[in-house]
Structure formats: structure tokens, C-alpha cells
Homo-oligomer: 299 residues x 2
Amino acid sequence: MLPEFKIAQLRHFVWVAELKGFHYAAQKACRTQPAISLSIRDLENKLGADVFEKRSTKSTMTELTPFGKHFLPKAKELIAHHDSISQDMMLMRNNKSGHLRLASVPSIACRLLPNLLSKFVADSPDLHISFYDDNSEAVLRKIEKQQVDIGIASLPHGHEHNNILFTPIWQDEIGVVCHNENPLANNSELHWQDLHDQRLISNGTSRLLEETEAAPLLDGSQFYISNMLSLIAMIEAGIGITTLPRFAFPEHNKTLCFIPLKTPHVIRQIGIVQLKNSSLSPAAQAFADFILKQGAAQQ
Amino acid sequence: MLPEFKIAQLRHFVWVAELKGFHYAAQKACRTQPAISLSIRDLENKLGADVFEKRSTKSTMTELTPFGKHFLPKAKELIAHHDSISQDMMLMRNNKSGHLRLASVPSIACRLLPNLLSKFVADSPDLHISFYDDNSEAVLRKIEKQQVDIGIASLPHGHEHNNILFTPIWQDEIGVVCHNENPLANNSELHWQDLHDQRLISNGTSRLLEETEAAPLLDGSQFYISNMLSLIAMIEAGIGITTLPRFAFPEHNKTLCFIPLKTPHVIRQIGIVQLKNSSLSPAAQAFADFILKQGAAQQ
DNA sequence: TCTTTTGATAAGGAAAACTTATCGTGTTAC
DNA sequence: GTAACACGATAAGTTTTCCTTATCAAAAGA
């Protein structure tokens, strides 16, 4: 009923379209020109319509018909999909352990992953790992686009990611970061009212406070610094204070201190994100299991 | 380098896996059992690893290896992707879907297109239509700029549009429009001399008379009204008469009448315009064919 | 043990894919 | 205007792939 395309045939089509000539496409395909002609004709027969303008009608160059124009991106997608699967299977076969494509938010990436990953790969010497770090939104996007198999992020409520499966693991609480010599540093916990006479520097994680009682503090904030290194440098220089999730606070810093914020008490759930309705690769599954066992304890 | 899978081959794999047997898969594929065996073996050679447990080792039934388990969802996804594209292209070829970009002169747009279009889209629920109405010059410009795929217009002689293909369909004749109570209304046809003692209101279509015997009438015209609604209102108020192509005359008007002008007998050819040397999108082609069949008869 | 079921294998034929050689039609250069 | 050229179509023949029929071997059920 439905025609069935061959991947090679689609490649021929894409090459003819992009290189604007049967001749060049033939070269690329390591075939003779008539082979490409026949391949394209077969494709046109399957589709039931021409994809290239017949040379009698059009100008000097090989041009797509409107129908062909519509088909081109679809053909390219299918080829890409095929190749990604093909490559994936090859990687999997070559080293028994496979390929782990991982994305994580920076805080976990810096604080926990180095240790976790080194333990994880200790007994899997042939495991290939691709790692990306970015914010939660970007991690989720990578999962959805299947650019990575598994991610570590928080699930931004509000935004609906209903093809994402989330397994919470860590609780990250918001706290105040200030210089050791700041009077606030003596407290063991803080409330938003305590910050009134401080210069608050907001940052990329500040939006976590946006819908809380502390929101007015943000509105009055004079500084916004997105880069973590710059932000830390500013606080170290005593220019002001900021708020950060605990995991984002540099672990061994001696001049700054982290004081939990009790009102509002904002807790960010961080965990494993994966595509719903799709099984993990063996390597990713193993890593997920590993984190559930090790990672939770480490907290 | 990378192996290239055939869709049929992947189907065989999926069927064997899901129906748990080469035999059943063969039935489903309308092939013999050895064909499936060979197909699967070829797949395993390409992958470089077995996808099914060899019967000596494992249990009674055909079982996937872990490697095969990992491949199965990917194979299914690729098949689904392929089929969705295939189906999409079939829909597009049968112009059940796609995009028809159409421009027309107002007269045809009001008098004939509503009926024609509603018939045309009757069984194409997913067909998107963009429609523009404007005068012939503008329609031709839109075609040339490829802002629309197909147009309905007349071909103004004088102006050269040598990359336009014109297929005449309707003949629109110029006539006099006057109030029912105007003495002229009794005639069944008129000549330009008959209009001498009338107040002639010229309009956008009057240029069709410019190079005819009736030109002097236009020169003496006191009124020019471009807007059709205003023009009709003026004539209905008995302020004067005008000339219009028949298709531009409002079909069901009771207070005005249309009397063909015999000298000069100006006939405007209206038809399909499209870009020469460029094939139409399937939807546009289907619409053109449809008009040629239906539209001509409807006149 | 005998029969049944299930997949593997062999050999031959049909279909598909690719090759070489040639042709026809527009394009370019002189 | 015509010769040379570029580009794709077509023809015929060969190689490769795919599928069939026939048969085999192993495991499971009675």
C-alpha cells in the first residue's frame, strides 16, 4: 500500500538536490550517473510525483519541484534518524558497555558528578561517556531531542514536559551567600527580612525566589550577574550578598559562607530525567541504578 | 562504513520479536520462513551481533538478546518515522494535505470561487489555503514573486509577462450598469453612442475601454470611484451609470441592471495564471485541473 | 520413541541494482 | 549559426540481492 523508501535512495535524492546535479550526486554516492537517474526515477514512481523539474521545462540547473521541496527536509530527517540509530548500534557493539550520553545542571556536575562518575566507570573500563552541562531547561531539551540518554536536572513547574520521566534524588535548599565578615555570617539560619539592609546581587538561580515572600528583595536588586565565577568574586570582594542553592555554592570556599534561608524555605528537587515510554540504553540504565544507590547516600 | 538497514528488514525483525516466531513473522510479511531467516541473519551481520538468542542456548521460545532488546524500540521508531513520512507524502500527492496559495481578481473571487473552493476542499480536511484578492496586475506580481502558487486573472496586453503561463477559462464582457428606472434599462444591448447624454461614472475597470471608440466618453467623465461598494451605491442612487465586466456586477442586485455593450465589444479573458517553466505544487495542480473541469462548465 | 514444531541450509530462479555505451537536448563560445 | 559541451535520459547486459522450494537438524510433547 504505502511505498517503502530505501535509505540509499533518499540519500541520492538529497545529494542531487543539494549538489544541484545528478553528476555530482553520482560522484558522492560512488555510483555512475545512470544509477542515480534510475534511483531518482524509482523514487518518483513510488511517490507518484516528480521531485525534480524536468530539464525540458526549466533553466540550466537541476531544480526541485514544490513537491520535492516539501519532501527534502523529511528525507533528510529520516536519513539522520537512521544514521543515528546505526551509529548508536555500532558504538554499542564495539564496546560491550556502550555509550552513556549524559547532561547535568552545573551544580551537581561540579559537586557530585566527578566523584560519582569516577566510581561508576571504575568497573566499566570500555564505557564511552559524552557529558554536557547546562541549566535545567536545556537539559530537558536535550533529553527531548534525544541528544542525550539521561539527564540530571530539576523539573521547572509551570512548564509542562509530559514526555519526561522524573525521579527525584537530591533536595537542594536555597541559602544566603555572604562574606565571612558580614554580620549575617554569625547566624545559623536567616529569614528574608534579615536581608533588608544588604545589597542583594541576583543571579540565574534567583528566579527560584520569584513567587515567594522574598520577591520584593529581588525587585529592589541593583545587580544581576549571570556568571558564577564573577558572582563569587563580587561577594568575596564584599560588594554584597546573594542567594544560591546549596549545591551551587562552591564547596571548599573559605572566605564565604552559606546560611540556609528559612523563610521562604525554597527546596529544589533535583533528580534523574529521562524520556518517558522509551527504554534507557544499558549504560544509561546502569548509571541511573548506580545513582539511585550511591548518589542518594552521598547527600 | 555504517551499515544501512532496509525498512523491510527492520519490519521482519520487529515482527519476529513481537510475534515470537519466524513462522508468524513470515506469515505477516507474506513471505516464506527461510526468507525471514535470511533477512534476520543479514541484519545480524550488519549489526555485528545477534539479536535473537540462539535456540540451543536459551529457552523454548524465540527470545531477544539484550542487544536485540536495545535495538527493538529503535527499529520500531525508525519504521514509524518512515511510515509517517510515507503516508504524509501520499496525502500530499492526493492533495489531502499541503498548502494552496491562491490569488484572484475580485470579480471571480466573489462570483465563482466561493462555490468552487467549497467543492474543492470538500474531502481535503487538512488542506491549508491562503487566499488573496487584488486586481490582475497585482495577481501577476504575486505569481512572479512566488508569493502565491496559482492565480486567477486576465492578462493585460501591453504589459509583457513573458514568464507567465496563461490558460484562459472565462470570457467576461463589458456592459453598462444603470438603475432599473433609467431609460437605458429597456435595451437588451447598447452601443457607446447611446451613452452620450448619461452621466458616466468611471471606475477601476474603465481602462478596459481606453483604447476603444468609447474612449471619449471616459475623457468626459466627471466622476471616478474606485471602491465597488461606493460605486454601486452611487448608481443605485441614480446619480449616473457606469461600465463593468459582467462578473464584477453584483449577482443578485434588484435595483440595477446590466446591459451588454456591443460597440465596442470588449471581452476580457480571465483564466489561470502560473509561473512558466515551473511545475505547480500538487494541491495547486489539482486545483487548476479542478477549475478546468468544473469552472468552465459553471460559466 | 515417534511425531510435531521451529529454525537453518542448499540450490535455483526472479527481481533489483549497477555498469558501459549511446543518445538528445539545451547552453556556451566563437 | 554552428560546433563543442554539459547534463541527464535511455538501452542492453551483467552482477547482486532476494525469495522460493525442498530438505535437514534439533528440541519439545505425547
